[in-house]
Structure formats: C-alpha cells, structure tokens
Amino acid sequence: MKGSTLIKVASQSILKNKMRTLLTMLGIVIGVGAVIVMVAIGQGAQSQIQNQIDNLGTNLIVITPGSSSSGGVSRGAQTYNRLTIKDADKIKRESLYANAVSPVVWTRTQVIGGNGNWRTSINGVSPDYIVIRNWPLKSGRFFDASEMRAMRRVVVLGHTVAEELFADSDPTGARIQIRNVPVEVIGVLEPKGQTPDGNDQDDVILAPYTSVQTRLSGWSRIFQIMASTPRPGDVPRAQEEIAAIMRESHNLAEWEENDFTVRNQNDLADAAQSTTEVMTLLLAAIASISLLVGGIGIMNIMLVSVTERTREIGIRMAIGARGRDVLTQFLVESIVMSVIGGMIGVALGFGSASIIGRATGWSTAISPETVAIALVFSASVGIFFGFYPARKAARLNPIDALRYE
C-alpha cells in the first residue's frame, strides 16, 4: 500500500478506538514528558553553572604554585612557595596576550564598621583584578596603581559585606576597622552571586595586595596570580606564553618540571560541568524508565489489538493483503500512536518544566535537540514495541484468522 493509504488506514483504526488509544498514548506521554522535564532541569542546572563560571571573569587564567602532575598541592610547593610579586610583574611586563595580571593573597578576619561586625575574607589584589574578574562597581571607585604602591589603607566592599555592615546606606567614604586597622571604604562592587560550588562571591573585601601583605597578614607569599586576555581565542596561547615566562622567572632548566600550574576557566569549569552532566544523565535515565514502561504499554495494547482484530486481519488477507501489508499496517499504527503521544509529551514536558522552574526558581532549559531526541526515541519505542505484535499479525494464516472467534 502507498504511504498515504497506510497512514489513513492506521489513523482510521486508531480513531475507531479513541479511549484505548488515549490510554495507550498516556504511557508515552508521561514517559516523554518526564524525560523532557528531567533533562530541562539538568540542562538548566548546567547553564546556570556555566553562567556562574562565566561570572568568574572573562578569559580567566589562574597560576597556582606547585606542578599540575602533583595535583598543585605538592609538599614542595607548600613548604617553599614559588609565586612571587616578581613573577606577576614579569608576566604583566612581558606577556603579549594577557592584558591584565593581578597577584592574589587572602586572609579571613573580623571587620567592624557601620552597624556591626562581620567575618569575611580580605583579598589583596592589584587594580587589574576587576578587569580580570569582569566585576563592575556599584558605587565609588577602585583603587589605582599609585594607591597600591603607596600601600594605602583603602578597601572596596563586596555586596554582601556592604549589606551586612551598612544595610541600605552607601558605605562609600565610610571608615571600617580591620584587625584594629582603620581603613577607608572607597567603593562597593556589583553583586556576582554564588560560585559553582556554592560560595558567596560577594562576601569579600578587596584591598591593595601590598597593604594586605604588610598590614594584615604579614605574609610575603602570593597565593595565586590571576590574568586574563582580551579575546577568548587567545587564552591557550596566553597560557603557553605565561608558562614560558614563569619558567624563565624561576630559572628552570630544560629538564625540570614546572613548579607552577597555569589553568584556564574551562579547566575550572570542567569539573563542575561533568558533575551536572552526570546528574542530567541520571535524571534522564530514571525518566527513560517511564518511557520504557510506556513502550511496554503500547506492546501490550497492540498484542490485545492483534488478537481482537484477528478476524479483520483474516478478512484483509482473504481479499489479497500480503503479510507485509499487515505488518506495516500494525507497525504504522503503533508508530503513529507513539509519535503523537511523544508530541503531546513534549508539549506537556515544556509546560511542566516552566511551571517547575517558576515554582522552585530553578532555571530550566530545553534545547531543540532534546525535543528531536525525544520524538525520535518515542518513534523508536513505537517500532520496537510494535514490531512483535505486528509480526504476530502478519504471520497469521488467512484461514485460521478468518475462523478465529
């Protein structure tokens, strides 16, 4: 039979049993819907994490002490720190690709000011830091190079700190005390939200690293050097270049391993991303089980239908239908049912995902690929689970089928 005739015959018999068709499709509808919702939540989480990682700063490069082969935390690196201001300055001076470089040191301490006190982390950085982190100011200004060299007692507050200490009023120009050292607040940063692993990035105070080293922590070592390139495509080249500059700066011989690690934002992102990928897969797998159950439902109904319509099959064969005609008829029937069910499931999944997203505040995302995969999958379910009953029908003997009561 022609394709159009086949579809017509199939939809006729589907329409003749509306209630049964609906119940059969329900299995597929729920299965596909569940897959869509689960994948939407998973992909939503992924894109949220991607956003947060993007928030870390554009084209970020992080240099940490210790070789990557020893996990960056080798004992040697811990006991004898090999990152210095000299390294940072050399990168800043010599790198062609990295346009912003900042050493980073930090310490946690109590601060007093405004309406109360608050325990937070003080990050010592250079003025390049807000360029690297792509972090705009909400009010006031950032400190400049001369203030840094002069070890001025100026700080810029993260959003959370500003709220904790000053509530709604603008702290710019106010004085706070950090470990009994009075400092001046010259600006407040825009909120940046949480890191992928759930830390509040706004719970921070930025200060010239010179001041932090000399007046607060008293340590001379540098924990990290951060850098960034103007263009994303330059990141790999910048990494190579920085590694070379670092080797030179550390006087490493040809045969010596790097005693530092240069990582980019993607390296940082990969770990977090793979976690959520696993989660998405897991959710989708769980949801697929319901699709499987839906498929078994289709097979069940198709088997019942073949038995119930044995006479019809006999009649069709008696007037000249070949086994293959009967096979395709039943196969098309189950495919039409599962694809229509799949489409309703996609629509339902869309709806539920956006409702869940709104109710919980999770971000959800549905890609066209997800929809395509869901539809292809449900058609395959139709073929797979429809084949056995269809073949059973096609193998009937015309005379036995006609005699069937």
Binding site: R311, I319, G320, R322, P398
Partner: protein, 252 residues
C-alpha cells in the same frame, strides 16, 4: 475449448492432522469449472464443502493434488503469490459477510483495490461505486455494516468480491445467515451476475438453493459423488415478483 476452463482440480486431498488422529476432509476431488457456469456444491455437514472452497479460494493449501486457476498452477505458490491470486482472480463471499466494522460500505468495497498491485489503486473509488451500483446499493454507500440489513451487508460483500473483476466468484453458504426472502434476493443477484457472464461457485446445504445453479456437485466424505446439470433451473428473480412479501423498511 481448454481456454474455456476457469479452474481445474485434480486429485485434491486435504488431511487435517489432529495430533494422533488424521481427518481426511477431501479424498481426491477432480473438478472442472468453465467460464460462465454457476455451480452449486452441496453435501451433508462435514462432507468437505468448506474445505474445498477454501482451497479453491487459495485460503488454504491442498495436502495433495493439483490446482489450476485461470491458467496458473496454484498449489505450490508462495504465501505472497497466493495473496496476489486472491486479490486479482478470486472474489470470496462468506456466510458471515466478513465486512470491516465501523467502515463504510464504500470503503469496504474499495479494500481489495488498496492491496492491488496491478495499478488499479488509482481507480479504487470509481470501481467501488460501480460495484455497489451493480448490487443495487448506490444509496447505501456511506452506511456502516451495523447500519445495514443482513441482505444489504451480503450485497456489500458481493460488491467487494466483484470489484477487482475476479475470474471466479466463490460463496460459502452466502444465504446461511439470511431469512428466506432475503435469500431469494441474494440468489437473484447471483443469477443476474451470472447472466452477465460471471463464473460463480456456491456452497449450500439446501437443494432449492442449489436449484438456482445450472450445475450441481454433491460431496460426501470428501469425494464427489454426483456432478450433473440442473434440469429445471429456478428463476429467483421471477419468484421475487410472485411472492409479494412487503419490503421491510430500510433502517435509517
């Protein structure tokens, strides 16, 4: 006059294997049907009439013997070839009508042409209308079987058997489910079609139905025991005009 022969069986046997016992339904049937004949096959219950019909109708294989239909040898054909033979050369009318439920008369009649592999699919609608007109059901084309009387349903079935212009029309007790008046109507239709040149084979229990044919074959225990022309052929159409039972109102 060999080209006059529509079908010919020689030594057709059918054995049903029922586990330990074997049922010999046919024990060597020789039968020749010529074009334009109307033959009645009679015999007691269990004599093998339906078995023979099913073999002639290519719904079943003979255990032994040869069978030629419209110039082709049938007994060794594959399932698909048999399906095509049923589609193109045979029109089968059953006792229980065997129409597709919830499907209009027109669609039922069209059905054989949807499986047609000789290019008549395009004309299915037209041919189906024509066949329904031939059985006098032009005004019932959109009715479903449940909206038709028994006689009308059987006429739809006859139209379906006719639609692909088969070499032979087979009917296994076509009036078995009908009352006597409707039976006469259906028989009159068969006679009319036969008069138009269609070869017809009817299985029946009743001798007065057999009397409508021009040749009667009697089976007993799977063997042909009588094969003779009907001397005084009944004219069903004529009887219809004489027995004046008021026509039942057609169901709406």
């Amino acid at each position: 006059m060999a080209n006059d022969v529509v079908m010919h069986t020689h030594g057709v046997c059918k054995v049903y294997n029922m586990g330990k016992t074997k049922v010999h339904a046919l024990r060597g049937v020789d039968l020749t049907v010529r074009r334009g004949e109307m033959i009645a096959i009679i015999g007691a219950s269990g004599s093998g009439k339906s078995t023979l019909m099913n073999i002639i109708g290519c719904l079943d294989y003979p255990t032994e013997g040869t069978y030629h239909l419209d110039g082709v040898q049938v007994e060794n054909m594959t399932k698909n070839q048999l399906a095509d033979i049923r589609n193109q050369k045979i029109g089968f009318v059953f006792q229980g009508f065997n129409l597709l439920a919830r499907t209009s008369a027109l669609e039922n009649v069209e059905l054989p042409l949807l499986y047609d592999r000789t290019g008549r699919k395009m004309k299915a609608r037209t041919l189906a209308r024509e066949a329904l007109r031939r059985v006098g059901l032009s005004d019932r084309m959109d009715h479903e079987p449940s909206e038709l009387s028994g006689g009308q349903q059987q006429r739809v079935a006859i139209a379906r058997a006719l639609v692909s212009s088969p070499a032979i029309l087979l009917a296994d007790e076509p009036t078995g489910n009908l009352d006597s008046k409707t039976s006469v109507e259906v028989l009159s239709l068969f006679q009319e079609l036969n008069a138009q040149g269609i070869t017809i084979l009817i299985v029946t229990h009743e001798r007065d139905i057999a009397a409508c044919a021009d040749r009667v074959i009697e089976l007993r225990d799977g063997l042909v025991i009588r094969d003779e022309a009907v001397a005084d052929r009944r004219n069903a159409a004529h009887e219809l005009t004489t027995i004046s039972v008021p026509e039942a109102a057609p169901p709406s």
